[in-house]
Each structure stands twice: as structure tokens, then as C-alpha cells.
Amino acid sequence: MNAIQMILVVIVAFLAGMEGILDQFQFHQPLVACTLIGLVTGNLTLGVMLGGSLQMIALGWANIGAAVAPDAALASVASAIILVQGGQGQKGIGTAIGIAIPLAVAGLFLTMLVRTISVAIVHIMDKKAEEGNWRAIDLWQYIALALQGLRIAIPAALLLAIPASLVRQGLEAMPQWLNDGMTIGGGMVVAVGYAMVINMMANREVWPFFAIGFCLAAIKELTLIALGGIGLSMALMYLALEGSGKNNGGNGDNSGSGDPLGDILDDY
């Protein structure tokens, strides 16, 4: 990796770090972050494949309520750097993911740290508001955001500082059973994200949808888009039928039409 590539990797890491808190453009999602690191280091295909594998694991990772999810930003960036530096090609994907997971945990502590520092920053904002100084509030908003970027950019730079030969030696010293075992673990660990999603959404009403989805998925001819179409149609049918039942004097359900928001939506 030459100096320009390293700088580009750190920039991607910075973007991923900012997005890790903003959650808007999704630069922190493995699919995007790993691809970009693959792109700037000349390993596009490898980055895309790593991103795909890691995305599957990170699908259900979201910070909601008390459940703290591992940090996708650091996991993506670190595993992509290790994969590129290790030079093992596709063979190294399983191992890179295995190493990424503990780093995702480390990322959590860093984000907690920055979120605590931001408490001090909003107190500065309070003072500036007292003076009516909106420019300073803008500035401190950007500073807080930049800290979140550095949270990933600094570890990425440290990883880059480790010579590639050392990464390679370390990876080669790993026995085959450990590599295979990590790949197997990576295939199973996907379940955790899904379990988090289900725990958040499940109620009596939606379980049948889950069961139908699970059973239909065994038909391999149905692509994900096709399955999405079936799921959407069923949800729409369910809600429509429920509404018509009410119009025919069904048991009292207080949802339905006649709401002001619906009228606004119709105007669009």
C-alpha cells in the first residue's frame, strides 16, 4: 500500500466513523465501507465480497434501547484493512471477519467515550446560545462530528502503521482449524442480529408472517426481491381486510381512515 492509498483509507475510515453516529448515508455499513477500502487499495472485488459477508452478520445491528450492538464501522474498516494487508485473497475473508468482531466491541467503548465528551460540547453550545452566537454552535456541532470520525480514523491509521509483513506473518501463523472454525462461526453468528430484530418486533400478530417467510425461503427459485414482493402484498392484504371487517360492523378496532394525516398524504 503506498502513501496515497493509506491516506484514502484513513479518509474512508473518517467517513465511516462520522456515519457510525449519523446513520444517514450508511458509509459505516460493511457493504459500503469495505467496498470503498477495496476500491482505494486496488482490491475492489475482494472488498465487495468481504462487505457482503460482513453485511449479512451486521444486518440486525442497530442501537436501540438498552441493547447495544457491536460497532459496524470499526468492524468493517478494520477487517478490510487486515484482509488487504494480509494478502491472502478470498481465503482470508473468514479470518478477517473473525478478527473484526472483537474490534467491533472495542469500537463500542470508543463511541461511548465520544458521546460522553459531547456532553461537554453541548454545555459550550449553551454558553454560545446565551450570547446568540450561532456560528459557534455550528462550529461545535462540526467538532463533535469530527471526533466521531476520528474514533475510527485513528484506529485505522494505527492498523496501517503495522507493517503488512507482520500482519501476513500473524495470519499465516494461524492454524487451519482456527481459520475454518472462524468461518463456520461467521456463518452462525448471523443469527444474533436476526434475534435482536425479532425480539424488538415480535408480537402475536406478526408471528405467522415470520413462519410463512421461513417456509417459503426453502424454495430456492424465489429471489429476495420476489420474497419481498410476497411479504409486502401479504401485509397490505392483512391491513386492508382488517379495515373492511370493521366497516362491516366487526369488533371495535380504533385504527382506520378519517385521520388528518391520511388526508394530507392524499393531497400529495
Binding site: 453516529i21 449519523l22 450508511q26 457493504l31 467496498t35 465487495v48 465480497m49 462487505g51 457482503g52 459477508s53 453485511q55 444486518l59 440486525g60 473473525g98 468482531i101 466491541v105 456532553v119 453541548v122 449553551d126 446560545a129 455550528d138 461545535w140 456541532q141 463533535a144 462530528l145 466521531q148 482449524w177 472454525g181 472462524m182 463456520i184 462461526g185 456463518g187 452462525m188 453468528v189 443469527a191 444474533v192 436476526y194 434475534a195 425479532i198 424488538m200 418486533m201 408480537n203 406478526v206 408472517f209 415470520f210 410463512i212 417459503l216 425461503a217 426453502a218 429476495l224 419481498g228 411479504g231 409486502l232 401485509a235 385504527s255 385521520d259 388528518p260 394525516l261 391520511g262 394530507i264
Partner: protein, 311 residues
């Protein structure tokens, strides 16, 4: 309050002002903190509008302070709240009797129910669906996977931010009356249904467990397997074997039929092991086991299981 602004020179927020606020709301969570959460970002987002509405410095001070109060909701569902707040601030700047309490009351009243809509719709339905679509393409190295994910997500996101903010702005306070029920509730329920459907499918497709232990070995009768001694060598032989094997639908490759534990489980229903693993994870999560602990434990089980020949 805003004595300078009388009816004849009414200050209105133009589309470009509103777009500036919408763009700034992208950075809403930049100063997310444990004390007042998204307060800094909300004030930051409102600044272009506040500057226009309150040229008087004292008005600006109190407006900035007003929007540095506690605020937290789903980052995208902040847009309708910003829209309503813009409408309220505009009325206030034009002399209407809108006090701090009204504005904060509206903000706080909307953030709870709207957060409840955002999580299932965006994090648990749209992102898993678009993400798994992109990831399934990316697994084979197809660069369209990440591009599709990135473009599709951002088109949906930006359209959502802009149109719900406009909706909030035009509806003013009317939107709050609906926030607790009706349409929003329906959208949330519909999204949960579709989300659960897709999650069910994804578990079958993408959670991979392969139990290696052999449960039974049944010797096959002659004629049910390929007689390797009768196969000619060279290309002709390969042709004959492939014809007899017939993509697994014809003769068996070996004399003995091995049934692994995985085969047995899959004959009950494909993906059963993956489903059971997911239920185990759900149970552990409900027992307040940290997801990180579960993830690391699964890796350890995977490695240990592989060493002893289970996987």
C-alpha cells in the same frame, strides 16, 4: 415578542430555507450526547430558519436556548418534527402567541410516538431488506451489490426526510393530533409484518450451520450406485458418470449412503438448525445476555465444534 414583524411585512420561510434545514438535519446526531442526546443537532438544524425569523439578537438567543433542550427520536423521523417546529416558529416570529412551552410540548409530544415508527420501519425492515439484497449480490464479488444498497437507501432516505418535513411544515400542529394513532400505527404494524416475513426468509437463507456427524450408513443395493470398475477412462468415462449421476437424481456416487445429522434435520424442514439457533439467541437476549457475549460465544462454539468434528 417580535414587535418588529407586523402583518404587512410577514416573514415566511422559503423553500430554500426549508431545504437548508432539511440538509442540516443529516448531521442531527453529530453531537449526540448522554445528557440531552440530539439537542445540539436540533438547534444546529434550525439555525438557517432562526436566523431569518429572528434578526433581533435577543430573539435569536432565546430561540437557540429553546432548541438546546433535551431531544431524542429516530434520526429520520426528526424531519416531520422539524417541519412542525418551523411552522410554529414562523407563526411566533410573525407575532402569533406561541410560547416556549407550546414549542417544546409539540417537540416532546411527537418524538416518542415517531421514534416508535422509525425503528421498525428503517432499522428492522428497509435496511435488512435492501442490505441483504445488496449483500447477496456482493458475496460473488458483484460491485452492483454495494451500489444498489447505497443508491436505493439514500434515495429513499432523502425523499423521506424532505417530504415528511414539508408535510410537517404544511400541517403545522395538526400532525400531532395524529401522532398517537391512526395511519402511523398502521404503517408501523405493516412494516413489522413485512419485516418479520423477510427475517424468517433470511434466517433460512443466510444462517449457515452444517452438522457433520454421520447418523447412519446404509449400504446400497447393486445398481443403485455407479459401478466405477465399469467406467471407461478419459472423456468418455466422465460423460458416462455424469449421465448416470444425473445431477444427483440418478445413481449414487458411493456404495454406502451416508446420512448426516444435517440431512435428518433438513428433511424435517430446511433450515431447522438455523431457526433453533435464532430462538436460542432470542432467549439469551431476553435473559439480558449482551449480544456481544453471544457473538463471541458463537465463534468459540464454532471453532471448538469444528475441532471435535461437529461442524
Amino acid at each position: 415578542m417580535a414587535e418588529t414583524a407586523k402583518k404587512e411585512n410577514k416573514i415566511t420561510l422559503t423553500k430554500s430555507d426549508r431545504w437548508k434545514v432539511c440538509w442540516r438535519s443529516t448531521f442531527l446526531q453529530g453531537s449526540w450526547n448522554y445528557e440531552r442526546m440530539q439537542n445540539g443537532g436540533f438547534a444546529y438544524s434550525m439555525i438557517p430558519a432562526l436566523r431569518k425569523l429572528y434578526p433581533n439578537k435577543d430573539d435569536m438567543k432565546s430561540a437557540l436556548k429553546r432548541h438546546l433542550e433535551f431531544f431524542n427520536t429516530h434520526p429520520y423521523l426528526t424531519s416531520p418534527i422539524l417541519g412542525v417546529t418551523l411552522a410554529l416558529e414562523e407563526d411566533r416570529a410573525n407575532g402569533a402567541d406561541v410560547d416556549n412551552q407550546t414549542i417544546n410540548g409539540v417537540k416532546v409530544g411527537m418524538m416518542g410516538p415517531l421514534a416508535g415508527v422509525g425503528d421498525p420501519v428503517f432499522w428492522y425492515t428497509v435496511r435488512p431488506i435492501i442490505g441483504s439484497l445488496g449483500a447477496s449480490l456482493a458475496l460473488s464479488g458483484n460491485v452492483l451489490g454495494p451500489i444498489l444498497f447505497f443508491v436505493l437507501w439514500n434515495v429513499i432516505r432523502i425523499a423521506f426526510l424532505w417530504y415528511t418535513q414539508e408535510m410537517g411544515y404544511k400541517a403545522g400542529t395538526k400532525i400531532t393530533e395524529d401522532a398517537s394513532g391512526g395511519l402511523l400505527q398502521k404503517i408501523t404494524r405493516g412494516a413489522s409484518m413485512m419485516g418479520m416475513f423477510v427475517i424468517g426468509a433470511l434466517i433460512e437463507r443466510w444462517v449457515s450451520i452444517n452438522f457433520k456427524p454421520v447418523v447412519s450408513k446404509v449400504p446400497l443395493s447393486k445398481g443403485a450406485y455407479i459401478d466405477w470398475n465399469a467406467i471407461p477412462s478419459g472423456a468418455q468415462g466422465i460423460h458416462k458418470v455424469l449421465t448416470e449421476w444425473n445431477m444427483g437424481n440418478g445413481l449414487a456416487l458411493d456404495k454406502v449412503k451416508e446420512t448426516t445429522l444435517q440431512n435428518n434435520l433438513d428433511s424435517l424442514i430446511p433450515g431447522l438448525a438455523a431457526l433453533l439457533l435464532t430462538f436460542l439467541c432470542m432467549w439469551l437476549l431476553k435473559k439480558k445476555v449482551s449480544p456481544i457475549v453471544i457473538i463471541i460465544a458463537i465463534f468459540i462454539v464454532g471453532i471448538a465444534g469444528h475441532v471435535v468434528g461437529l461442524f
